[in-house]
Amino acid sequence: MAANSWKEILDGQMPEDWSHEIDIFEGQMELRRQGKLDEKVFAETRLRRGVYGQRYDNGQRHDGIQTQTLDFPSGDLTKGPNTVWDAPGMQRIKVPFGGLTPDQLDVLAQLAEEYSDHILHVTTRQDFQLHYVHIEDTPDIMRRLAAVGITTREACGNVVRNVTACPLAGVCRDETFDVSPYAKAMTFFLLGHDDTQDFGRKFKVAFSGCGDNPCGLVKMHDLGLLAKTKVIDGEEKRGFAIYVGGGLGAVPHQAKLLTDFLPEEQILPLSQAISRVFARLGEKKNRNRARIKFLVSQLGIEQFRRLVFEEMESLPEDVRWTEFIEDAHQHVDNPLKSGSSLNGQTPLEGFTEWYATNVYHQRQAGYHVVTINLPLGDISSHQAYHLADIARKYVGDNIRTTVEQNIILRWVAGEDLVALYRELKAIGLGEPGAGTIVDITTCPGTDTCKLGIASSRGLAGELRERLTAKSATLPDAIKDLKIKISGCFNSCGQHHVADIGFFGNSRRAGNYKVPHFQVVLGGQWDENAASFGLAFGAVPAKAVPDVLDAITERYVAERERGERFQAWVSRLGKAEIRNMLEPFMNVPDYEVDPSFYSDWGDSRQFSIGDIGVGECAGEVVSLFSIEIAKAESQIFDAMIALDEGDYQAADESAYKAMLLGARALIRTQLLDVSEDPDDIVQEFRTRFYDTELFYDKFAKGKFGRYLFARHENPTVNPDEDSAHRLIEEAQLFIESCHDTEARVNGVIVA
């Protein structure tokens, strides 16, 4: 019979240091069980092993009627603050630059069957995630992964996360050079490095092979490296343009250019120097301001640059900085087959459509990249086994995950395309539409994320189904639009860089809460996520499909020849877009259409209220509704001003919108508040901020501080960037006013 434990059976197959780290983690689990390790310390330890919390792990769940206590057998034992030991969690699995082999895919599938729910989920950072995993199973999961060369170390926590890179690196027709070996070198250089262990927040790194295409998204990363060459002393040298301080999150930041050319041998010491500066000067206490983007903003890019290059000068020499370079220059992929053409083969039904969207001609003649379009980033264990076999047959180890939550097979010979399509189709992986409007990116949302407000996956599933059903008749103009959805303002679904983005929130209608999505338009995915979209207003979740139809139909009808979506959005103007959305913003009464009161893919009522509305409360609610509407229209003025290039006016309007929002809230308690900004801020601070009524469960008082910051330090000469940011902040502030009012007036149960 088999051995007694995976540890025993895999002994000698795992890298020694990885095996040792897993043993240590197992030891820490035992200490925690015995109460000898503090829950906060254990939580960070666990996160650094990729073992993440999941929705309902505080032991409570609203079942649509009432909140149920989930009585896990572990009782009071926790694996972090407010996190029950026995509650199912998520295991994130790092896949550096998305590179994967068939053997690794097999093991991932096996783990999904034994410890999870038979699903492998591909994330927007090219990772895999397993959900509903019990913490006791995680050491064996890690061992089985380590035995095939995969680590979960630093997949979560305040560390360097999975290093991503263009999935086409090495085969792309536009790239400057293949960035894969550089991404790999940086992954393992920074993994567990002493200088990356003391960050206040996570740190994300991305590589891109060129400046024009979106695959690497370097401008929305903490550290982005964009491949470049430069002739120095008559010799062509490889290097990178370096970007720092980018990020999405609640308020997106475009990365700043640190240097436009850094020679290849300096990228590792530079990353180390940045890590040191970030660890030394980055915010540690307030996690909402702890990403490196805030440090870059606070110091200014010049000062940040000076500190980093000074730090670099002082670093002790490390052979690893350069020892990978020779290999990087010699690195080539190993195709399994000889390149060939497709000519002469009888196409199967559906092949032409699939070929048009899912096949990319590599720079190397006779070879192709095939994209497997995964619905919502999910692949079943059965599909994964089959896919591993297909890869072994056609491409060998040349598999990668993508930031659009798909999987690609590289180095497919032309003559194999028809047979490959047939085999993919047989296992449900031959869907066309990769990279098109049906290929929607989404974060986990309320399915599993603790912070989710609305069901991003439910909405994505619904839109995908509807768009797929009419894909044959979709106008060409909209086929390539990008839709990206997040379950809350945190932007893990990357809604800021989509043509059409949505992020979840909720609104009150009568005595109920109704799932809504903010509509974000005009973000730019191209040029490495070059610009961010703006939110135009919240619509009920159930109205989103109609909103999407309205937007796309109007774009098709009114676009000028060759006009891109982003250009059309800006030509149409904010007022007109708002007009277009307004008819969809109304929520029908519950008695008229109760479907609006539950979310996509979830039959539970989104929330119910044990209302008990007194006269006073009724009036106050009504007053609040009127006053908050003023704040919303003020924010809209700010957007118009931004559009017109009047940054001063945009800045002032955004500030006024926050004051109006704060005043609306204050007037639920004190009707006689003046309109003097000092009075409003003072009253707001004492009544809502100091009392923590204006606290978001996870963002804490962050949104309130947006008002204080602008009130105390008026922007001097606002520019586009600062005005845009203040508008974003004001929108979040107003969202928070809605939440606070609903909470304070006690009518919301969920």
Partner: protein, 198 residues
């Protein structure tokens, strides 16, 4: 032999008439009403995955799923924790709860007359360490499985075989019972019987 995870799948008749989405409110109701044993946590919708796990009611000890894998929809009962130490008892318990769940589904008006075929069942052991997918493992568990099946199917003849010969797959056995009784009869027989290991 002690195994940590066991699943049991009964297939539905006329699967083309069933909308997997109908299981979402049914499973949510099970959580609200504590319809089945154990701690029930959440409902997950994977019906967008081709022949995937369908709709799953996630629990602490047990998951229930309207599973679509291999294109053969059915109720998949997966015991993941707190199994009986003895394999016969564990199987007996797992079959009992799987059948009870199947009966509740059959009697749920929201599922429009769905019915299960009791003449075929797949039993899987989600533990490659103790139960790799090979004929020797079948030899090891055959007797325990047979005893558990007799407690359910009585004197009816049944055949047992490996469900897949792919060593990567879960160790799964297919049981075919040509003359199987319906669900209520099977449950009544199980309830009337004594624990199989005694």
């Amino acid at each position: 032999m002690s195994l940590n995870r066991i699943s049991i799948k009964y297939f539905v008749r006329r699967p083309e008439t069933i909308d997997p989405g109908d299981f979402i409110p049914v499973f949510q109701k099970w959580i609200q009403n504590h319809t089945v044993e154990g701690l029930l946590i959440d409902v997950v919708d994977y019906k967008h995955v081709y022949q995937g796990p369908g709709v799953i009611l996630i629990g602490h000890e047990v998951d229930y799923a309207f599973d679509l894998s291999e294109g053969r929809p059915g109720l998949l009962y997966t015991r993941k924790r707190a199994l009986q130490a003895d394999l016969r008892d564990a199987l007996h318990d797992a079959f009992r709860l799987a059948l009870i769940a199947a009966e509740k589904i059959e009697s749920d008006g929201a599922l429009h007359g769905i019915s299960f075929d009791t003449s075929e069942v797949i039993v899987s052991f989600h533990d490659r360490l103790l139960a790799p997918n090979k004929p020797e493992t079948l030899d090891l568990v055959r007797e325990d499985v047979s005893v558990a099946l007799q407690a359910i199917y009585g004197d009816a003849n049944f055949e047992i075989e490996l469900a897949s010969d792919d060593p990567r797959h879960l160790f799964s056995i297919r049981v075919v019972v040509p003359k199987a009784d319906d669900l209520p009869t099977l449950i009544a027989r199980l309830d009337a019987g004594v624990p199989v290991s005694s």
